[in-house]
């Protein structure tokens, strides 16, 4: 059997068989969605329902209106009281209120009613006063409507006043920019995570071989380049397996829920997924997602391998030396928002051609549509430069690796590493 295949098989099997692989494969989607759903849930639940006493000196906020509003929305309760302001200030807590508002006597419906203050004994955030604000606004609006003689029908007519503008590409009718943004973010974040996690796995793997001194035994059987390539390909396959499992899970969920109108808490998410599947060319997306994922991985992995070969046991050395490699990855995930906001702007176009940033940028842009947003030539140049990029980094890193893997002692600087990389045999 070919020796590279043997190395790939070992790298792959030792990792896939580990419990941590299984756990991270299962746990990641759970955590990811848990985070999204959970944060929404927590924000919704954590806001305490306030009970607020109200002294209405103006006479506009009558009991009937307040009652109707309290029934329509339970996120805050307004209780009209008729106590003197001073005694309410002293006693509102013992009466069981979280705070109180006073509608001034000189309020006139034709003027505004701005800057009411909510008096509390604890400092509340603006956010927690929102439900109260919403209710008072509703009541105030209905007061105004009544005074102006606007009935329910007229009110409806008034409310239909909003004009919404949705971008739609004439070349690509299916492109939906909302879904594209979401899909772009998900694909780019996933690429980012895979690059970071599996890139450092390559580095750690090389360090392990170097520090346990097995490297010298192996390179007396195979060429150092074969060892490096086998490791990168093996770990790449692990990454592919993990992503593949996630994709399959999503496809299964899609197919199972297709056509059913499921009820319950998952409905929103599943409905969203169904919408994604109908509005996006899924095989096309998956192809490019895998291409940029693997391309980006190969581009960076060999450089991580070179760093791993250059350092010794010390994790700090590895961290300081690998930081320059992580910079462009972190940079591209941070600036990705700008790319999604303006997917045809110069940052987006150039960034998705340069292989340092292209795996993440391109994944953020492709959902917006090819050739609507990403021109075919851009895609071709980007793919070619990524392929060329990883051939170059692999060649370059291979030379650093060959020197580094058998070199012990002082940690070399990046300058020395680059010198090793360009040295003739």
């Amino acid at each position: 059997m070919n020796k590279i295949l043997l190395i790939i098989r070992r790298e792959y099997l030792t990792r896939v068989r580990k419990k941590t692989f299984l756990i991270s494969t299962l746990l990641f989607p759970v955590l990811y969605f848990g985070l999204i759903v959970g944060t929404g849930y927590i924000t919704a639940k954590s806001g305490k329902s306030l009970k607020i006493a109200m002294i209405d000196s103006s006479g506009y906020f009558d009991k009937g209106k307040v009652e109707r509003e309290n029934q329509a929305d339970s996120s805050a309760t307004i209780v009209p009281v008729s106590i003197a302001a001073d005694s309410l200030k002293a006693n509102f807590e013992s009466l069981g209120y979280d705070g109180y508002v006073i509608i001034p006597a000189n309020t006139n419906w034709e003027d505004g009613l701005d800057n009411l203050s909510l008096k509390t004994s604890r400092t509340l955030s603006v956010e927690s006063a929102r439900p109260l604000e919403r209710k008072l606004n509703n009541i105030w609006n209905s007061v105004k409507n009544e005074k102006l003689g606007i009935d329910e029908i007229k009110k409806k007519t008034m409310e239909n006043s909003r004009v919404e503008v949705v971008p739609e590409n004439v070349n690509d009718e299916t492109a939906n920019s909302t879904i594209a943004s979401i899909l772009g973010v998900v694909a780019a974040v996933l690429t980012y995570i895979i690059l970071m996690i599996y890139g450092s796995q390559v580095m750690m793997g090389v360090m392990e071989e170097k520090t346990s001194r097995i490297a010298e035994v192996i390179v007396s059987s195979v060429k150092p380049f074969q060892l490096m390539l086998g490791k990168i390909l093996g770990i790449g396959l692990v990454a592919l397996t993990q992503v593949g499992l996630w994709l399959v899970t999503v496809l299964i969920i899609y197919n199972v829920t297709k056509g059913t109108t499921s009820a319950g808490g998952m409905q929103g998410m599943i409905g969203g997924m169904q919408e994604v599947f109908t509005s996006v060319n899924i095989p096309f997306m998956i192809f490019f997602f895998l291409f940029y994922l693997l391309g980006g991985f190969f581009f960076y992995a060999s450089l991580f391998a070179a760093v791993g070969s250059a350092v010794n046991e010390d994790m700090r050395e590895a961290q300081s030396l690998s930081f320059p490699l992580m910079m462009p990855i972190i940079f591209s995930i941070i600036t990705m928002q700008a790319v999604i906001k303006d997917p045809t702007g110069p940052l987006a176009v150039w960034g998705s051609i340069i292989p340092f940033t292209s795996p993440i940028y391109m994944m953020a842009r492709i959902p917006f549509g090819v050739p609507g947003t990403v021109q075919w030539w851009e895609l071709a140049v980007s793919m070619l430069s990524l392929i060329g990029g990883f051939i170059f980094t692999t060649w370059f890193a291979g030379k650093i690796y060959r020197t580094g893997i058998l070199m012990y002692g002082k940690k070399p600087s990046w300058k020395e590493l680059i010198k090793w990389g360009f040295r003739k045999n």
């Binding site: 059997m1 020796k3 043997l6 190395i7 070992r10 030792t14 392990e208 071989e209 346990s212 001194r213 097995i214 490297a215 010298e216 035994v217 192996i218 390179v219 007396s220 059987s221 195979v222 150092p224 058998l406 045999n425």
Partner: protein
């Protein structure tokens, strides 16, 4: 015919000449000692022989043909001084993997491993992990993985370090066995007593150059100084010792160490003492130990001290 022939090998690193014009022949089936202080260039030399490094100049002939690392590597087994195994990998799996990298098929490798594991009493280890083994046990495993594929050339760098005497003997016997069955062994070490015991032929390198080359016996003869230890049963007096035949080196009680002057034989010396009516109890030549020879050879260089430490 020599299995391995090195002709004027040179290898330079940025700052130093690691191997500077070394030529040597290693006979098939011999146990060859490669000696030298740390930094002498032994490891670099071995790495060129194992195809890890390419020589800058010179050529390597393996089995009569120009050394072709890609194919010949399968006939070489190398155990580096710094042992290396995957700590988290199971022992059987690891040994199989290393054997397959050397070109053995899985079935062959399994079969051979079973035999070796039995021989070394390691059968119960198959599913253990390397990190669970003691250092000596790891050493045995490493030795097995080095010789498993029946290499023509076996290179062992300090094979006995970290082994207890029982296991050291076990390995030593296997080394003899392998040599008897036709394998050629390069044995790299600092431990002179092992070299004297095991090696047929030795080479000493220092600072990238070969400074000694020959059989153990021949080298000892080359460096002998005609020193003899003579002890007497009756008293020996100063006036007995002033003679042109020899010079006195040392006298303790009735025992003297003398250096016989060139042009004179042992018999003349014995005859002289008999004429003086001295009764000789013993008469021995003092041959230098390899250790002494090597210290003398590399003396004056800062690395010479290492040899004294292993004394």
């Amino acid at each position: 015919m020599a299995l391995l022939q090195l002709n004027h090998l040179k290898k330079n690193f940025a700052t130093q000449k690691a191997v500077d014009d070394i030529s040597l022949n290693i006979e098939r089936g011999s146990i060859f000692g490669l000696l030298g202080p740390n930094g002498a260039g032994k490891t670099t030399l071995i790495r060129m022989i194992t195809g890890i490094f390419y020589p800058d100049e010179g050529e390597i002939l393996f089995d009569g043909k120009k050394f072709d690392p890609l194919n010949d590597i399968e006939h070489i087994g190398y155990m580096p001084e710094e042992r290396g195994l995957y700590k988290k990998m199971k022992i059987g799996e690891q040994a199989l993997y290393l054997a397959q990298l050397k070109g053995l098929s899985k079935t062959d490798a399994t079969l051979k491993l079973k035999t070796w594991f039995k021989k070394f009493d390691m059968e119960s280890w198959w599913d253990k992990k390397v990190e669970d083994l003691s250092k000596g046990m790891q050493q045995k495993l490493q030795f097995v993985t080095t010789v498993l594929h029946d290499p023509k050339l076996i290179i062992l760098d300090e094979p006995f370090s970290g082994l207890d005497p029982v296991n050291a003997n076990l390995i030593k016997d296997e080394i003899y066995n392998l040599a008897k069955n036709g394998a050629t062994i390069i044995f790299s070490t600092h431990r002179m007593e092992q070299v004297e015991e095991i090696c047929d032929h030795i080479v000493l390198v220092n600072k990238g150059r070969k400074i000694l080359d020959g059989t153990v016996k021949q080298i000892k003869n080359d460096f002998k100084e005609n020193l003899f230890r003579i002890s007497f049963t009756n008293e020996i007096l100063p006036e007995h010792l002033g003679i042109f035949l020899f010079e006195l080196v040392k006298k303790t009680g009735n025992e003297v160490i003398v250096k016989i002057n060139p042009g004179h034989t042992n018999n003349e010396v014995i005859q002289y003492f008999l004429n003086k009516e001295r009764e000789i109890e013993s008469f021995n030549e003092i041959l230098p130990s390899l250790n002494e020879i090597f210290i003398r050879q590399v003396d004056g260089t800062p690395t010479a001290r290492q040899f004294q430490e292993t004394n």
